[in-house]
């Protein structure tokens, strides 16, 4: 089975996000007074072959812990979509 995985990497609670804070500070001057809590993280997409959704998730969790994120300062959220038919063939991930 093939899955398209999206991993959203964010900041651990309490960890400074200088990028988000800077963009936040800049917004009012650009006419956006109604925006708050800007946070900038990473988004990772990949295609994974696995025996089941839970198998895929488990593998990606391990990858997140070891390679894709730094658990000391980052959090991650995984979402999976099974790719079937054409999508699985081309697995464009898009």
């Amino acid at each position: 089975m093939k899955f398209l995985a999206r991993v959203e990497v964010g900041h651990q609670a309490g960890i400074l996000d200088p990028q988000g804070a800077t963009v936040q500070r800049a917004l009012p001057a650009l006419g956006y007074e109604n925006i708050s809590e800007v946070k900038i993280g990473k988004s990772i997409r990949l295609v994974i072959e696995a025996n089941s959704e839970s198998d895929a998730r488990e593998q990606i969790e391990k990858m997140c812990e070891h390679l894709l994120t730094n658990p000391v300062i980052e959090t991650y959220e995984i979402s999976l979509v099974e790719l079937t038919g054409d999508a699985a063939e081309n697995s464009a991930g898009e």
Partner: protein
């Protein structure tokens, strides 16, 4: 020669003093213009120097394009005034839309500070008017996002209009078509990743940058 050169300073800009030093060694006078100002005064030429405007947060040049001074810079450029963006300044000019294309992370995914070989690809721009196509220059680069990119049509158009100003002789960052610097169609707005001000004194190892800056200051 342009005697009064405005050097635009954003929070995070760091090459403004270096540019001023190199420009004044050529006998011109620089004035630093803070990004919050809305006028370039009586400047005859404008330089946006390198650095990390707004920390390069979000994207290089992304926030700087909205500073009040950029409206004046755009108007100055539209009126044919010479505008030069160096490194971060180049990134800001592409974000502002004064120059085509964009600069993405170096192909090697590392910051790169090194002297590189350049070849003049066009002498139609303000930065290269006094040079000859094919001239070889040795000038330092200093960037993480210097990998020039644009779509195919833009590239074809730039080539047709002779807008590719400088090429790397040994591409250090993956730039499309070895592009190190480009101009707008009229040739009065130029951006380049290398830092001419860093090649402005014998004791620093090269004076090739002065060749470009001299051209930039030369009478139109």
């Amino acid at each position: 020669m342009a005697r009064r050169v405005a050097v635009v300073v954003f929070p995070g800009t760091n090459c403004e003093l270096d540019v001023a030093r190199a420009i004044s060694s050529l006998g011109a006078h620089t004035e630093s213009v803070f990004h919050l100002e809305d006028s370039l005064g009586s400047a005859e030429a404008v330089i946006i120097p390198g650095g990390f405007a707004h920390g390069d947060y979000l994207r290089t040049g992304a926030l700087a394009q909205f500073s009040p001074i950029m409206e004046s810079v755009s108007a100055f450029a539209a009126a044919g005034g010479p505008v030069l963006g160096i490194c971060n300044g180049f990134q800001i000019l592409t974000e502002t839309g004064l120059l085509p294309g964009a600069l993405q992370k170096n192909a090697g995914l590392k910051f790169l500070c090194a002297s590189v070989g350049l070849s003049v690809a066009s002498n139609r721009s303000v930065l290269t008017r006094t040079t000859t196509v094919g001239d070889q220059l040795q000038i330092p680069i200093n960037h993480f996002e210097g990998n020039y990119i644009c779509d195919r049509e833009t590239l074809a158009q730039m080539k047709a209009n002779d807008q590719i100003v400088l090429r790397y002789t040994d591409n250090p960052n993956g730039s499309l078509d070895d592009i190190a610097g480009v101009s707008n169609e009229a040739g009065n707005v130029v951006g380049l990743m290398p830092h001419p001000e860093r090649a402005s004194a014998e004791i620093l190892g090269s004076v090739d940058g002065l060749v470009l800056l001299e051209s930039f200051l030369a009478p139109l």
